[in-house]
C-alpha cells in the first residue's frame, strides 16, 4: 500500500520540511544524535529532558505543537493526516519531545474529551508549550495488568479530596509538575465503577517520589507515595466514580503509541554493520537472522502504513493496536538478541568498555519495556483474542461484587 499526498498535503509537507530544516539538524543515525541517546544516567537524563523541553517550546512557538488540537487551546486545528505528515518529516531530524510526548499523547486527548472548559484553557496550552511536564499515575503494586484493582483512596472533605496511597512505574515523576492520577472514590460498587480521574500537583509536599532502579541500573521509573494530599474537586476530570472509561481511552492510545514508534534508521542496517565488523557477514546463520529482522521491520512498517491510511481516510484502522504492540515488542527483543550475539566476546563487557557504550547490553536487558510496559503481551493477547477474534472472556468474579468485598482487596 503506497500512500500519496494530495497537492495540499504536499504543500503542508514542504512547509514542515522547510521549517524543520531551519530549526533542527538532520539525524545522523550515530552516537552524535542527542535525540536517540539511550543508556541514561540521572544527569544525562535531566539534560535530555531540558533539550526536549526546549524543542517542545520551539514547536509551540513555530505553530507545530498540537497540530490536531483546537486553536483556542494552542493547537493548529488540522487533521490527523497533517500531524502524521509532520511526524514523518520530523523523524529525519535530530529532535524529540521526549518525556513531553507522554503528556501530549496521553493527557491531551482525555482532557480535550472529558475536561472542563476551565481545565482545557488552563492546562492544554501549557502542555503544548512544554511549560508543564505531566506523568501518568496509574499502576500500583497490586494494580498492574489488573489496573482496576487500584487502591489509592481519595476521600471527600468539603471541596477537596484527601488522597492516600502508592503509585508505581511512573515514568518521569521526578521531573514532572503534574500527574493524571487514578484513585478509588467509592468502595461499595464494583471495581470499575468507583474510580475517579484527578489532576494532581506532584510537587505537593505530601507527594514523595522515589526512584525505582531497573535491571539496567536506570532510574526511568519511580514509586510515588501520597500522604494526605489535598486535591480540589475542580481537579476532577469528567465525573466522580466514572473515571474507568476515560482511563481506557488513555490505555488504548498508549499501546498504539508504543506499537507505532520507530527510530528512522533501519535496525537491519545497524546489524549488518555489526556482522561485517565481527567478520560474520558470510555466516549463513547470521544472514538468515538478519533477513528475519528485515522481515519484521517490513511488517511493522506495513502495520504503520495501514494505521496511517485509516487515519487519513477517517475510518477505523483495520489493524488492532494490540497486534502492533505485541509484534513490535517481540521483534525488538529478537533484534536486540541478535545484536548482542554479533558482539561476540565483547558481549561480555558493559559500559564504556563495550561497543557503542553498552547500547546492545542495555537494549537486551530492556526488553520488558516492550513486552511489559504499556500492558504485558499476555494482556494484549487476551485483548486480541476477545476483541478481534470474539473469543469468550475468562469467567470472573470481580466485575459485579462491591470492591470492598473482593478477596484481593485485602
Amino acid at each position: 500500500m503506497r500512500i500519496i499526498d494530495t497537492p495540499q498535503e504536499q504543500a503542508f509537507r514542504a512547509e514542515a520540511r522547510a521549517w524543520l530544516a531551519a530549526n533542527a539538524q538532520p539525524i545522523t543515525g550515530t552516537d552524535a544524535d542527542w535525540s536517540q541517546a539511550r543508556g541514561h544516567t540521572p544527569e544525562s537524563e535531566a539534560a535530555h529532558l531540558e533539550r526536549a523541553r526546549e524543542w517542545q517550546r520551539t514547536l509551540y512557538n513555530g505553530g507545530w505543537a498540537g497540530i490536531t488540537w483546537p486553536t483556542e487551546y494552542g493547537g493548529r486545528g488540522l487533521t490527523p493526516t497533517h500531524e502524521m505528515i509532520f511526524n514523518q518529516e520530523q523523524s529525519a531530524f535530530d529532535v524529540t519531545s521526549g518525556f513531553f510526548s507522554t503528556g501530549i499523547h496521553l493527557v491531551g486527548p482525555p482532557l480535550l474529551l472529558h475536561g472542563s472548559e476551565d481545565q482545557r484553557r488552563h492546562y492544554l496550552p501549557r502542555l503544548l508549550s512544554g511549560e508543564d511536564l505531566w506523568c501518568q499515575l496509574f499502576s500500583e503494586p497490586d494494580a498492574g495488568s489488573d489496573l482496576a484493582n487500584l487502591r489509592t483512596r481519595a476521600e471527600r472533605d468539603g471541596n477537596e479530596f484527601i488522597v492516600n496511597g502508592q503509585k508505581l512505574w511512573t515514568t518521569g515523576a521526578q521531573y514532572a509538575d503534574l500527574g493524571i492520577l487514578l484513585v478509588r472514590t467509592n468502595w461499595d460498587v464494583p471495581k470499575h465503577s468507583g474510580i475517579t480521574w484527578l489532576i494532581s500537583d506532584v510537587r505537593d509536599p505530601g507527594v514523595e517520589v522515589r526512584p525505582l532502579v531497573t535491571n539496567t541500573g536506570g532510574t526511568h521509573f519511580n514509586e510515588v507515595f501520597f500522604s494526605n494530599v489535598r486535591v480540589g474537586c475542580d481537579h476532577v476530570i469528567g465525573e466522580v466514580d466514572r473515571g474507568w472509561a476515560v482511563a481506557r481511552t488513555v490505555l488504548a492510545n498508549e499501546s498504539v503509541m508504543i506499537g507505532s514508534s520507530s527510530y528512522g534508521t533501519r535496525d537491519v542496517d545497524l546489524l549488518a554493520r555489526l556482522a561485517r565488523r565481527a567478520g560474520r557477514a558470510n555466516d549463513p546463520i547470521v544472514r538468515q537472522q538478519l533477513a528475519r529482522v528485515l522481515v519484521n521491520e517490513q511488517i511493522l512498517a506495513g502495520f504503520r502504513t495501514r494505521m496511517e491510511s485509516a487515519v487519513r481516510a477517517g475510518r477505523r484502522p483495520d489493524i488492532d493496536g494490540s497486534v502492533m504492540k505485541v509484534f513490535w515488542a517481540e521483534s525488538r527483543a529478537f533484534k536486540d538478541e541478535i545484536g548482542l550475539e554479533l558482539l561476540g566476546d565483547e558481549a561480555l563487557l558493559d559500559g564504556s568498555d563495550a561497543p557503542e557504550n553498552g547500547h546492545w547490553q542495555g537494549a537486551y536487558l530492556d526488553f520488558p519495556m516492550g513486552t511489559i510496559g504499556g500492558g504485558t503481551s499476555e494482556v494484549h493477547r487476551n485483548g486480541i483474542g476477545e476483541r478481534v477474534l470474539g473469543l469468550p472472556k475468562e469467567p470472573r468474579e470481580d466485575r459485579t461484587q462491591p470492591f470492598r468485598d473482593l478477596k484481593t482487596t485485602g
Binding site: A272, D320, R381
Partner: protein
C-alpha cells in the same frame, strides 16, 4: 462473487471427491470459471479476450481459491504459465497463449525458482529447437494441454512452448503430499519446442514472472491461513471442556491471538509484494522474498496450531485440518522455501560489503 463461487463449487465434499481423481480438478467447474466468470483471463487485455484488470484481481481469486482449498489448475495456468506469458513472451505467440488461457485451456510452467539451476537444456538446429532434461515438480503437468518450459540454451535462458502430446515428452503424475494440488514429473527427450520469447534475452522477464507467480502463491497461502484461523476460532468458541468454551482459556486464546498477529503480518507483506511486482519496482525481489519466507512459515504454523486447538479430532482423516496442513507445508517448499528466500534477502543487504 469469487468467494461465493468457490463456496458453492468447492465445499469440503467436492475437495475430497476431486483429490481422489486422476485429473485432480472438475473440468465443468474449470470451464465455468473461464466462460461464465472469466477468472482465468482477468488480467489479460480486453483486446485478446480478457477483462483488462490487474494483478490485484488475480491475487484475490488465488486467495479465495486458497481459502476453500479449491482443486483447480488455476495456480498452474494463471500464476505460473500466465505470468511467464505476460512477462517473457512476445508477439503472435503471446496473443495466442493468452487466448488459450482465456478460453479455459490448462497450461503450466516447467521452471525452477532459482533460474541458475535450470535443469532443462534447449538446442536449436536447422530442424528447430529440442528440449532435453527432467523437471519436477510441475503443477498440473500431467493434464496441461500446453507446457511452457524454461530451458538454458547456449545463448542463455529462453522460454519455450511444448505441446503436451509432443514426441519424446513423458509425463508422470506424482503422488503429492498436498492431495489438493497435482504435481507431475516431466521427462524431455529431444522434445520439439517453439521459442515464445527471445532466447538468450528472456532472463529479466522470467525473473519477473517467477516473482509474480511467487507473490500470487503467497496470496493463495494467505487465503488458506485466513480459513485456518477462522476454523480454529469457531471450534474454540464451540468446544466445551471443564464447563466452558476452550477459547476462554488463555492457553488457547493466546495461540489464536498469535495466529491473528501472523495473519495481519502476512496480509501486510503479501499486499506489499503484489504492489511492488505490479509496479515492477526495484524492491520487487526483496519484497517477494520477504513475503514468501514469512508466509511459508506462518501458514504451516497456523495449520499446525489449528490441529492443536482442535485436539484429537484435529488429526482425524475426517477433519479438513490435515488437508490445510498438507497444503501449507507443501506450499512452503514450492517456488523456494523460507531459507532460500531469506538468503535472497540477505544478499540484498550487501551484508558482505566491507565495513
Amino acid at each position: 462473487m469469487v468467494r461465493r463461487f468457490f463456496d458453492e463449487t468447492s465445499p469440503s465434499s467436492e475437495v475430497r471427491r476431486l483429490m481422489e481423481t486422476e485429473a485432480g480438478y472438475d473440468t465443468d467447474v474449470w470451464k465455468r470459471m473461464a466462460e461464465e466468470l472469466g477468472l482465468q483471463s482477468v488480467a489479460i487485455p480486453e483486446a485478446r479476450g480478457g477483462q483488462g484488470l490487474g494483478l490485484t484481481e488475480v491475487a484475490l481469486i488465488a486467495r479465495e481459491a486458497g481459502r476453500s482449498l479449491a482443486c483447480t489448475p488455476y495456480f498452474a495456468t494463471v500464476a505460473l504459465a500466465g505470468s511467464a506469458v505476460e512477462h517473457a513472451s512476445q508477439g503472435a505467440a503471446r496473443a495466442e497463449l493468452e487466448a488459450a488461457i482465456a478460453a479455459g485451456e490448462v497450461l503450466t510452467l516447467a521452471a525452477s525458482p532459482d533460474l541458475d539451476s535450470t535443469p532443462l537444456r534447449a538446442e536449436t538446429s536447422s530442424d528447430g529447437t529440442r528440449i532435453c532434461g527432467t523437471q519436477f515438480p510441475v503443477p498440473d503437468g500431467h493434464t496441461a494441454s500446453r507446457i511452457l518450459v524454461v530451458a538454458a540454451e547456449a545463448s542463455g535462458l529462453g522460454l519455450y512452448q511444448v505441446d503436451a502430446q509432443a514426441p519424446g515428452l513423458e509425463r508422470r503424475r506424482l503422488q503429492s503430499f498436498d492431495r489438493t494440488r497435482r504435481l507431475a514429473r516431466l521427462d524431455f527427450d529431444n522434445v520439439p519446442a517453439t521459442a515464445i520469447g527471445t532466447p538468450g534475452e528472456d532472463r529479466p522477464g522470467l525473473e519477473r514472472a517467477i516473482d509474480q507467480a511467487t507473490a500470487l502463491l503467497t496470496s493463495e497461502m494467505l487465503g488458506g491461513m485466513e480459513c485456518v484461523l477462522a476454523t480454529a476460532v469457531v471450534y474454540a468458541k464451540e468446544r466445551q471442556q471443564f464447563g466452558r468454551a476452550i477459547g476462554s482459556f488463555q492457553a488457547v486464546k493466546h495461540r489464536a491471538a498469535d495466529l491473528q498477529i501472523a495473519n495481519d503480518a502476512a496480509l501486510t507483506l503479501v499486499d506489499q509484494a503484489l504492489e511492488t511486482v505490479a509496479l515492477d519496482l526495484t524492491e520487487r525481489p526483496v519484497d517477494v522474498s520477504v513475503a514468501k519466507s514469512f508466509v511459508s512459515e506462518a501458514f504451516a504454523h497456523a495449520a499446525h496450531d489449528n490441529i492443536q486447538i482442535h485436539g484429537g479430532v484435529g488429526f482425524t482423516w475426517e477433519y479438513d485440518t490435515h488437508l490445510y496442513l498438507r497444503r501449507a507445508r507443501s506450499s512452503a517448499q514450492l517456488l523456494g522455501d523460507a531459507t532460500w528466500h531469506r538468503e535472497r534477502i540477505a544478499a540484498s543487504l550487501s551484508v558482505a560489503e566491507p565495513n
